[in-house]
Assembly symmetry: C2
Homo-oligomer: 703 residues x 2
């Protein structure tokens, strides 16, 4: 943190610490004075309002803060009751000592155990306090979650009501078009169908095309353009120095071999070639590569919102209409996947994820076994001299098995994102939500349950086989022993995690290295410091893991609560700074992440209630059944929240969409904003687009 | 049937045998000749097309015939393969004899058993034929159900597409209105909210009122009017005879005691009094008894259809918009029940139904025990002389316990209808569907499972407690023994059931008795012969029970199939006649019954597949696991059908609603058709309705 305080005041690094403000065209810090209090950011973060966050970083970020502060509230309110009440009760009993005498304990209990429920004697009346505490935590959670859901729902409504024109509010995505009748184009099919249903508000349609080829060419073209600018920059620099050498490079693999050519000339030529090919491919794509789906534009928000919720065709697997995501979120390649294929993909992915979550150790063990040094030496003989160095050999032999695991864990988020994308989801934010859910199950199952049951795994499995309903009991028995581990885990998470987050050491170093050695142009520099967004796909599940851990231990070992409070308080503070000044959101889903967070907090609560049931059972407390209403009420709570709020997160409510706009929407602009960059071209314009994109029909639209 | 052939040609009974034609204003039979072939109805039924049925009796009836013919098709196709293949295979084996020797059998097996799977020896290769037969029946079912669903979906689409103006297609039902802000009336609230969302197509709204009081007065008024007409008719008749006595009656209880008054004068006076009270109450109702829901009318079918599918308010429990049912189906008292109350009522009803289905014997046993003769004598001393007659005593003692059961079973459909209505469903046809579903579970659980497991109930329960997955086994073991019983059951059902149905003896007798002794006026006569509709609530579950029985026994004892075929063939024929000539449909739900029928046929199939799995298991056939894909494929089939077709049965597809109409709809007429008879009044008209019913706003509607 001190590091951050020092580094952030240095002018050279402003782009690393204030990129969001710079992107928005603001001064790095307000007032514009050169010197500034190193701890001013804390004041700024604390004094910032929700509206500031929405303005700087969008509704999604604001919703993330609602999540942080709700969890903080739950833990804080639990803590102020649980800590002063339960700690003295636990400390003055002596269950641990007694147990120590009677069992062949391995002596792992320490001072912490004396402050936990493990120190209470079996069936002691003191357990009543713990039982009431269990209720208190649940009630606090319900209350705060209810308030938060209401708040987020209002946030979403306000954002959607906004009188700014947002292109995605005027568009819908139509998929699963039936086959065209001969002699009819896709465009005619879509237009005539929708015009007959919405004669007054239908504006225009854009048939989805297969952009794979044109995207590739466009990518190459853009790459060469960048390289050309770079080469010119190098040339200019060299001319300034008076040398005037023209940059050259080799055309072969990675610039290492092949003919040596003059870079500027070479790139110019390449660009000319590609530009022609690109234009031809654009035309071809628009004309020949039309697919069975389309984006459709309406002149009214209400029509678009209501169309996205209505059944259009008698057969549900035809003409599926859904809300259009933001243009920047659209995953074009997923738009054309058919109804049943989407369903099959979805279930296939679920199965794969389930297998990954439960059996991920198996392939890793396999890979580890395969990549022993002996094998490596055989398969990759050129590594032999390296491998034979004795010192390295020892290190490798020790760490090679873990290496596979580490690589797997590092790649897991990417894998889950890829899997979620494979499901056929058309919008980027939805993919991230889906991946985040999968990651949550992975961490809770493997880290929380894995560590807790961990050591006693094999005995556990045997017991489960004999008594299937003893899972809870096993979980409960192994809980207290791991309290210390998780306490350290949470502490480590917030010290190291948030320290790194705030000081942004890694991006800082990368940026400075790049600036020094690689970047030659303005565009490249911007690329080097551009921060990306708060990566919810991993951040939310990581926070959720902490929620799960702290909730589950809150009554058993209340000492964990202050750590949880600290984690979320610090997280709130640090991320407030980052959201306001660093991260640039990649999309805006108007708080659609919230229902996922809500459900997952409640699953954590359910897990907590279940373990408490088991733990009280283990403590042989005769009033344990008093806890049974808790999980039931959690389920009822989930159900009611879903009924009351969830609808408005799936769809846009019409009362929200019917708010008046500041100005008449410029439909042509809205339409153009959805054209993918690879298909966009000033020249092509109307005559060319006509094939895949329907013509304006103002004469008919505004009768 | 012969009885019918003779009776139906007698002119006095045409109103009993051809009421639907008479109501529609047609001649009882075509051609108009006095004499007619007594068996012409068979020819007429067979030659009638689906369109005839739709014209005469609506889409719902046509869908019922699709159901009958689909089941007929399934059983027929199963029969022509199973009978010639399985019967010889079963007959030439001798498993029964062997079993008879080895076990202490009670000798119930007869010739039928020799034709069934029970006659196959354990793990005999002959079982392969039965296994393939199991597959054949399933595949035939899938195929025909798929075709039928497609067909019904098209029927529904055609009916909804129709260019006739149907009032319910222009209306939606808006429930769960939030509280009005002070100074605003309900009407203003509804109108301003909806006008802002649908500025162009909103026509007018009708706030739902609490009509309990006004309905009561209206009922009394109508009753007195009827009585007046009747009294006048009697007077006239008497004058004709030259006596000229004015009819009199006593005002007391049931006309048995009290003051004697001149009927015509008395009724006239009463009507005058009530008419005033009625008018005052109408005004009061419209002004003061407005409730939190409304019917809203649009000038476009598409808007109404899409509004019914869209979320209107940010909170889902406000402004719930659903399709409006037909005016004649509307259950006004259910319209005002709130969102959460509806949910709670629904679950409460489910619990009650579940308890009724499973434990209905308990209250009946209790009642039976309570109503012994001894108790009756004590509680109702005036029955003493009757009860003490020896002959009567014997009969009563024997039948009193059964009496409770019989009364319960007779009242059950009414009870289920009442329960379904209590759920808060706003439309009559939906209530009937819900009741039909409940009745299905009742009959399948109690008749089919009850009889099958029946005798061995207590041993069965003990075994289930020990081995929970042995339910199937028990079911399978007790199946063959009951084949004879169910064969007789099916035969009885179609001989007696359809005989009674076709000859309509009970309505005929009632009609003739009423005509002779009670009816004095035309209206009363019509009431006496008016047939009502095909009562789906009991008819469909009864048919379903036969489907379940025949399917479950189809492979075990294929001899049952011809009986099933006969049942449905005869049913089709008889009901075709009844639908064309007798029953007058009470509502039109455009085939919404079909998904329920479909799902229930599939649940019968699942039960069949499950019992077959169990039965093959009992036969110790080692290839039994080959059957496991069957229930899974059934579930997948259910899922796919639901995905593909069900949406269009829940909502009106927009492509269907967007068909052009024959004429511009007369909105005022549509609006008036929804006014309940008790609130309708020529005099009241616009000025009065203004309070509860919003004003026309043509000026704004058609900008």
């Amino acid at each position: 943190m001190l590091l951050f305080a020092w580094l952030s005041t240095r002018p050279g690094s402003t782009v690393v610490y204030f990129p969001n403000r710079i992107v928005k065209g603001l001064e790095p810090w307000e007032g514009g004075s050169k010197t500034r209090n190193p701890f001013a950011w804390i004041k700024e973060a604390l004094s910032s309002t929700e509206q500031d966050v929405i303005d700087m970083s969008g509704v999604d970020t604001a919703v993330y803060f609602v999540f942080l502060s709700t969890v903080l509230g739950i833990l804080f309110l639990s803590g102020i009751v649980l800590l002063p009440v339960l700690l003295p009760i636990a400390a003055t009993d002596d269950g641990v000592k007694k147990n120590a005498h009677s069992t062949t304990s391995n002596g792992t209990f320490n001072d912490l155990d004396k402050l936990s429920m493990a120190n209470i004697q079996e069936n002691s009346p003191r357990l009543w306090a713990f039982l009431l505490a269990t209720y208190w935590v649940s009630v606090v959670t319900y209350f705060l979650l209810w308030k938060a859901y209401k708040h987020v729902s209002a946030l979403r409504a306000t954002a959607l009501k906004s009188d700014e024109v947002k292109p995605e509010q005027f568009a819908v995505l139509v998929r699963d078009l039936p086959d065209v009748t001969p002699g009819q184009t896709r465009k005619q099919q879509v237009d005539s169908y929708l015009k007959s249903i919405y004669p007054e508000t239908f504006y225009r349609s854009m048939v989805v095309t297969n952009n794979k080829e044109v995207d590739k060419i466009w990518g190459e073209l853009e790459g060469f353009k960048k390289k050309l600018v770079r080469a010119e920059a190098i040339h200019e620099e060299s001319e300034k120095k008076g040398q005037g050498t023209r940059p050259t490079h080799k055309t072969g693999f990675l610039g290492l071999c092949g003919e040596k050519v003059d870079s500027i000339e070479y790139y110019n030529e390449k660009i000319k070639d590609l530009a022609q090919k690109f234009e031809a491919e654009q035309k071809l794509t628009l004309r020949e590569k039309q697919q069975g789906s389309a984006l459709v534009f309406f002149t009214s928000r209400v029509t678009a919102a209501s169309a996205a919720q209505s059944l259009h065709a008698q057969m549900v697997d035809n003409w599926t209409v859904t809300e259009a995501p933001e243009p920047r979120q659209l995953i074009w390649s997923n738009l054309t996947i058919k109804f049943y294929e989407r369903m099959i993909r979805q279930y296939a992915v679920y199965v794969v994820v389930f297998l990954t979550v439960v059996f991920y150790m198996i392939p890793i063990t396999f890979v580890s076994a395969f990549t022993t040094l002996e094998n490596l030496r055989k398969l990759l003989p050129f590594l032999k001299p390296v491998v034979d160095i004795v010192a390295l050999k020892t290190v490798l032999e020790a760490y090679l098995p873990q290496l596979a695991l580490i690589i797997f864990l590092a790649l897991l988020p990417k894998l889950l994102l890829f899997l979620s994308k494979t499901e056929g989801i058309p919008s980027g934010s939805h993919v991230i939500r889906a991946a985040s859910g999968k990651y949550f199950y992975f961490v809770v199952f493997n880290v929380f349950l894995g560590v807790t049951i961990g050591g006693t795994l094999f005995t556990a499995i045997k017991t489960i086989e004999k008594k299937p309903n003893s899972i809870l009991e096993i979980l409960a028995k192994s809980l207290p022993g791991n309290a210390t581990f998780f306490l350290t885990f949470v502490a480590l998470k917030f010290f190291v995690g948030y320290g790194l987050e705030l000081s942004r050491i890694v991006p800082l170093i990368i940026y400075h290295v790049k600036r020094k050695y690689l970047c030659k142009t303005e565009a490249e520099l911007k690329e080097a410091w551009f921060p990306g967004d708060i990566s919810y796909a991993t951040r939310v599940p990581a926070d959720m893991l902490i929620v799960t851990i702290v909730l589950c231990y809150s009554v058993i070992a209340p000492v964990i609560i202050p750590f949880g409070v600290l984690y979320f308080a610090l997280g709130w503070l640090v991320l407030r700074n980052q959201a306001l000044k660093v991260y640039v959101p990649a999309y805006e889903s108007y708080g659609r992440m919230w229902p996922h967070m809500h459900t997952r907090i409640l699953s954590a609560l359910l897990l907590y209630q279940a373990t408490m049931l088991g733990y009280f059972g283990v403590s042989k407390f005769v009033y344990t059944p008093i806890l049974i209403p808790l999980p039931i009420s959690s389920l009822v709570f989930v159900f009611i929240c879903r009924k009351k709020f969830y609808g408005a997160f799936c769809h846009t409510a019409l009362e929200v969409a019917s708010q008046e706009l500041k100005e008449t929407p410029h439909m042509e602009q809205i339409f153009k904003s959805f054209i993918p960059p690879s298909l966009f071209s000033e020249k092509l314009e109307d005559e060319q687009f006509e094939d895949a994109l329907s013509q304006v029909s103002r004469s008919e639209s505004f009768v």
